[in-house]
């Protein structure tokens, strides 16, 4: 799913809590009993994850709909 978003556009984001820049990493996202590993930006310290707007409204919404009709 990460291929649907250009993570480099989000390199200015840092974790406000830990003061660290976000870094690419594998994140589990799941819906209706289906789980996917997605490369996303996350805080290497506390694990806070950034899901970009275009991913949420694009591919994620599409996959949600497909899983709901399964």
């Amino acid at each position: 799913m990460s291929q649907y978003v250009d993570l480099s556009a989000y390199e200015n984001w840092t974790c406000a809590n830990c003061g660290q820049p976000l870094q690419p990493g594998k994140v589990d996202i799941s819906y209706m009993g289906n789980s996917f590993q997605v490369e996303l930006l996350r805080c290497p310290n506390c694990g806070l994850v950034l899901i970009p707007e275009e991913l949420a409204l694009g591919k994620m919404a599409e996959v949600e709909k497909a899983l709901e009709d399964k």
């Binding site: 840092t14 589990d28 996202i29 799941s30 819906y31 899901i51 949420a56 409204l57 949600e64």
Partner: protein
């Protein structure tokens, strides 16, 4: 629903029934499709359709007695379609494209056909193509029988000969100059007895000669007795058809009512029986609607202009291509589609109820794989217009509503389908809005005003005034107030559990008020209580206002007429519809009736939660409705009003005319957004509690004190994404309290997410002087797990 119930339901939809012409035709020529092809100029395709039903298209198109014409719906609209002339045009202009006759490989069993007239030749044609061996006997020296007696100017001999050439391509043996009669031979007493010995089946098509068949039983009229369904005679394996069945032993002292097309029909039907007889399967199974019958298809001809044919024809007329195409264009192309014509939703999916019912059934039965009809099922407005216009009362709303309940039971309802509306309902039945009070100073109530959640959300000020009106009208009876949702969204979503829970809460409060009469301002609430709480006496606010309100309500005679939009939930509530019109008349309003109103009114797309399940279709529905008149609309449902206003249609709620400030252009007022609807409900409750009962609202939650600055374009986007201000407040309250947020070093924005329910909301914001400036908000339903 099992397969049997499905078929019963499906069969109630008549769209797939044959048009009247085809049903009247003894061999069921697909006249409609054939004519459609001619109108397109494709005569070859038309001829192939014709030949499917008629093995000898040249002959029949010249001598057919055209029972189709008496049934044609054009009959009283310029004259029936000249069908036989069009059939001849198929031959004139499409013969080059005629597909060759195909036959199955030869089988062992063989059939004797006695008589080479048109009926016998039909049986020979059909059975030879099935691969059975066929031997045709005839007393004369050529095949064609009675056809040769037809005057040559009616049936040109080249046409006759040409059609009979089809047997050159088929494996049929002809034994001519052979008389069938009382003499048997080969040790048999009769010829028929001999054939029965030598063949596996026999078809008798001897023409008008009954007395030559001593082996067969006759009926009480002296005619050969056959089973009317199978054409089998008293002897097993011996079938009969054609003119032999149309005369009695008295012939020739009686009239022969010959019909070539009926003889072909007899042959076809007998051939089906013989084929089954040879295969040893049931002769009688699935044989409905053979031969001429009356169709159940309904076709509305009310909008069709009369149009006579260009030229009148007889059986010798031959058209030019152009005249044939023009005549074909007169065909009405009969079909029903009454429901599809009035419903954008049914039209959108490009089918009709019979097809849709099967798709819904399959969707509910599927074990693995994608449920393609989920959205179809959830898009129906459940408004009942289809049933109202359907000649057989098929109601897709009932089918879709049942399907939704089943989907919920099967735990297969897409979670996102109705979630937003169900949470809105939960809000309305929560502490922010739900309220039940007897009138100030009363211990019990004779009436209780139930304005509904959406009127309270759109026009809280009118709710106050309407409540005051009722207390003024019934000062001594005690008019209580109940603010909450009636449960309609749960019902529409198929959520019996939520509906039942909501109703239980309602009943608890209602009983405490002393079971008062329920006064309803919203017609969805009205239907909800009427259907699910038949023990409660319900009254329409509009009827009460008509009866007890001022009888003179200003003078709007100088205003332009208004078009009344009846909410779909008043479809069969003529008294409410009348009351509304009475009130408008008392105001001096000039009323324009929309083309579809009262029992034929259309949904605004809120009904059944269509607007939530399928926005593009909902848009079509609402656009169609608002395009029906240029006048300002007046309605009496808050959602209809808001849905129309959102698309820029000038629309008044009836209460705008009753309680609106003079001089306000209420028809142009913008709709109330989703967040504001919550706010308005909460404020209405707080205001009424304070002013009437001197009570205060429960304490605010922490997130409610978060102050937001939302620029107008952002407001529109979050409204469109169904994100509420309170969702945004919750995200920020959580982020600021826990520190869990991201910071953008380039622009100084914060980004945070929080999942207060089944949805995760994201907000990008900047703190600004004790408030928060919102840059964007979005959401998703997928859940974020731990890092891998």
């Amino acid at each position: 629903m099992d397969q049997k119930e499905l078929r019963e339901q499906e069969n109630r939809c008549i769209q797939e029934q044959a048009p009247a012409c085809t049903a009247a035709c003894p061999v069921h020529v697909d006249v409609r499709a054939m004519i459609a092809k001619i109108a397109e100029g494709d005569f070859a395709a038309a001829l192939n359709l014709y030949r499917k039903a008629v093995p000898f298209p040249g002959i029949i198109s010249h001598i057919c007695d055209q029972p189709c014409q008496a049934a044609c719906l054009r009959k009283d609209l310029g004259g029936p379609i000249e069908i036989a002339a069009l059939e001849r045009a198929c031959l004139d202009f499409g013969s080059q494209g005629l597909e060759p006759v195909k036959a199955l490989p030869r089988k062992a069993k063989k059939v004797a056909v006695i008589g080479a007239g048109i009926s016998g030749l039909t049986v020979a044609f059909d059975l030879a193509r099935k691969g059975w061996g066929v031997v045709v006997y005839d007393a004369s020296d050529r095949i064609g029988g009675g056809l040769w007696k037809t005057p040559p100017d009616l049936l040109p001999r080249d046409v006759l000969v040409n059609d009979l050439r089809v047997f050159d391509e088929l494996n049929v043996e002809f034994r001519l100059n052979t008389t069938v009669g009382r003499k048997g031979g080969n040790g048999h007493s009769t010829f028929l007895a001999r054939l029965c010995e030598e063949y596996d089946a026999v078809y008798l098509s001897t023409g008008p000669n009954v007395s030559e068949l001593p082996d067969l039983e006759l009926d009480e009229y002296g005619k050969v007795a056959v089973d009317p369904q199978t054409f089998q005679t008293s002897q097993s394996g011996v079938f009969a058809g054609g003119d032999v069945l149309r005369v009695s032993v008295n012939y020739p002292d009686e009239e022969l009512k010959h019909s070539a097309v009926l003889s072909i029909s007899d042959g076809r039907r007998a051939a089906v029986s013989i084929d089954r007889y040879l295969q040893r399967v049931s002769l009688t199974a699935s044989r409905a609607n053979e031969g001429p019958y009356e169709t159940r298809l309904y076709t509305n001809t009310s909008g069709i202009e009369p149009c006579p044919p260009l030229v009148t024809t007889d059986l010798t007329t031959h058209y030019s291509r152009e005249v044939a195409e023009t005549e074909a264009a007169r065909c009405i192309q009969c079909e029903c589609l009454e429901c599809v014509k009035v419903c954008e939703y049914l039209a959108h999916y490009k089918g009709y109820p019979k097809k849709y019912m099967r798709e819904v059934y399959n969707n509910l039965s599927i074990v693995m794989g994608t449920r393609h009809a989920n959205q179809f099922i959830n898009t129906c407005a459940l408004c009942g217009l289809c049933a109202e216009v359907c000649p057989t009362d098929v109601d897709m709303g009932v089918i879709c509503h049942n399907a939704r309940e089943q989907m919920v039971e099967q735990k297969r309802m897409p979670p996102s389908a109705h979630d937003f509306a169900l949470r809105d309902m939960a809000f309305s039945n929560g502490e922010k809005f739900a309220l039940s009070r007897n009138a100030p100073g009363f211990e019990t109530s004779t009436y209780v005003f139930f304005p509904g959640c959406q009127l309270s959300a759109s026009s809280p000020g009118y709710v106050e005034k309407a409540y005051q009106f009722l207390r003024d009208v019934f000062p001594d009876e005690g008019v209580g107030l109940m603010l909450r949702c009636c449960g309609a969204p749960a019902d529409w979503a198929g959520r019996k559990d939520l509906y039942t829970a909501s109703q239980a809460e309602f009943y608890t409060a209602y009983e405490q008020m002393g079971r008062p009469k329920l006064v309803l301002a919203c017609s969805s609430c009205y239907q909800s209580f009427k259907t699910h709480a038949p023990d409660i006496e319900i009254l329409s606010f509009w009827e009460l206002f008509d009866q007890y309100g001022p009888q003179q309500l200003g003078d709007r005679k100088s205003h332009a007429p208004v078009a009344v939009h009846d909410p779909c939930s008043t479809r069969y509530e003529a008294r409410i519809q009348d009351a509304v019109r009475n009130i408008l008349k008392k105001m001096g309003c000039v009323i324009e009736e929309l083309p579809l109103s009262r029992e034929k009114t259309e949904c605004c797309s809120y009904g059944g939660l269509m607007w939530l399940a399928n926005r593009p279709v909902a848009e079509k529905v609402v656009q169609r409705r608002i395009a029906e008149s240029k006048q300002d609309y007046v309605t009496y449902c808050a959602m209809c009003r808001d849905f129309f206003a959102r698309r820029g249609k000038r629309t008044l709620h009836l209460l705008d005319l009753i309680y609106g400030a003079p001089g306000d252009d209420a028809a142009a007022a913008p709709p109330v957004g989703f967040s504001q609807r919550h706010e308005n409900r909460a404020r209405l409750k707080a205001k009424l509690l304070s002013e009437l009962w001197s009570e205060t609202m429960p304490d605010q939650q922490a997130f409610e004190s978060i102050r937001l600055i939302i620029p107008e374009p952002v407001q529109q986007i979050i409204e469109d994404r169904l994100i509420l201000v309170e969702d945004v407040q919750k995200v920020i309250e959580y982020a600021e309290r826990t520190g869990k947020r991201m910071y953008n070093t380039a622009n100084g924005h914060f980004l945070a997410y929080y999942k207060p329910n089944t949805v995760t909301y994201w907000v990008e914001y900047t703190p600004q002087e004790g408030a928060f400036l919102i840059h964007k908000a979005y959401s998703h339903r997928m859940e974020i797990g731990l890092g891998g």
